[in-house]
């Protein structure tokens, strides 16, 4: 079956602009995670959804970052008034909450965001 997909693959924007990053999880996966990976670093947790609700948004760096998952499937990460420091690869992962792959996170290819 299809894996986790993320669009766009790359996004270049100017400082101060608004961007939306999309994640399509594996069908049937109720848990969805967003991570941010800066150059030369490991991914860092941003937010976790269980179904439609954000169960843990403790990793969001500030109120310019927001994410939604209105129907419990596709999720959108939104960044307002982008800053150069927001430049990174944004990774999405989904996870089944039962079965043999319980707790295993399946990652998408990421969106590379560059803020000029």
């Amino acid at each position: 079956g299809a894996g986790v997909s993320q669009t766009p693959s790359n996004k270049v924007t100017e400082k101060g602009k608004y961007v939306e990053l999309r994640c399509d999880p594996i069908s049937g996966h109720t848990a969805l995670y967003w991570y941010r990976q800066s150059l030369g670093q490991g991914p860092e947790f941003l937010i976790y959804f269980q179904g439609t609700g954000a169960a843990d948004d403790s990793g969001l760096p500030n109120d310019r970052f927001f994410a939604v998952r209105p129907e419990g499937s596709v999720s959108t990460l939104k960044i307002q008034r982008t800053e150069r420091g927001d430049s990174a690869v944004y990774l999405c992962a989904s996870s089944p909450m039962s079965g043999m792959h319980y707790n295993e996170q399946f990652f998408g290819p990421g969106t590379r965001l560059t803020v000029l």
Partner: protein
């Protein structure tokens, strides 16, 4: 707070040889999971192997095996018969297993492995 440390930024190995990547972690939790992920230049994170902390037996997946030392909080990855396709960044990761936990992954900074022909 949990932390994961990978002290080897880069490593190199000859094709068909064996290499071991190191990882240590710090936690006060008794129940947790540990993972090794591979990230090739395509950016796609691929799960290599997982270990449940309550299991004493070390996990193995074909050419990949771990040496899990719970008391020492050490979780190294051994790659046998290295192949050119193993060239990638390798990340060690920790996940709490407590009920109601977010199950977020906490990653180390990674080890860049180069397999030489």
């Amino acid at each position: 707070a949990q932390t994961v440390t990978q002290s080897q930024p880069e490593m190199s190995v000859q094709e068909a040889e064996t290499v071991t990547l190191s990882c240590t972690y710090d936690t006060s939790e008794s129940n947790y999971y540990l993972f090794w992920y591979k990230q090739p230049p395509s950016r796609q994170m691929i799960l290599v192997i997982r270990q449940e902390a309550y299991k004493q037996q070390n996990a193995t997946e074909n050419r990949f095996s771990v040496n899990f030392q719970k008391a020492a909080k050490s979780f190294s990855l051994k790659i046998s018969d290295s192949q050119l396709g193993d060239t990638a960044m390798y990340f060690c990761a920790f996940m709490r297993a407590s009920g109601g936990a977010t199950n977020k992954l906490i990653f180390g900074t990674g080890t860049l492995l180069a397999v030489q022909p």
